[in-house]
Symmetry: C2
Subunit: 113 residues, 2 copies
Amino acid sequence: MPRSSTTSDVFNAIAEERRRDILDALVSGEKAVGTLVDDLSMSQPQVSKHLRVLSEVGLVRCRADGRRRLYRLEPARLRPLNDWLAKYEQAWNARLDRVEDYLKELQEQGAQQ
Amino acid sequence: MPRSSTTSDVFNAIAEERRRDILDALVSGEKAVGTLVDDLSMSQPQVSKHLRVLSEVGLVRCRADGRRRLYRLEPARLRPLNDWLAKYEQAWNARLDRVEDYLKELQEQGAQQ
DNA sequence: TTGACGTATGCCTATACGGGAATACGATGC
DNA sequence: GCATCGTATTCCCGTATAGGCATACGTCAA
């Protein structure tokens, strides 16, 4: 069995960094495909394909404007991610309280790569 | 070019649902591999392999106890996810304020699948 | 109509995957 | 030492990808 499809859920869709870049670029508002191509220095087909994936999981929505297509963010779809992450906030904060431990994390993180 | 490695970052590591299941199971505390196998009804090699991925991105940490290996959560490593998501909280909340829109989201989400 | 523009799609390849089965490894108890 | 338990690793497979390139599609201007 291969990896789950990128369009199977939000988690798989945002696993690709390029797609996160696209979402980041859309935070400031609706943008045309060409604008994303320029801003992110990606090929046009590449952008279109990633937008398709994001669209299939509902993270973006499309609107026609002449021959351009304007894509906008659909932040509500990030909810599953937020909900899942919320479970760990408590455990997380408990660690953050111990500053020494946290600094050690960062050191190990740096040393590991 | 294939998809990024599952061990390339936290985003790719948690894309797999089984691995999220494992993390969820570890929220309550340190657990042995066998315990996870029973709790999650997964094969032992499967659990070990997923734990390896989680371990490589630092989401879990291992400790030996006799012939058992106890794995525990490393919540601090979820930070990149939290940071990335934070960018969207504002846009998100703006939508949540409009309850009608949010309900519509849920309806569309249900109708789509 | 014709051409140009903006975008989407199809084909291709190398690549990394998740799961199953078998097996190797390390620690324990006798 | 030896059998056994608990885990990790290896090999195999079918499969879905991301990117490059070429091209099809829809819309607008002249």
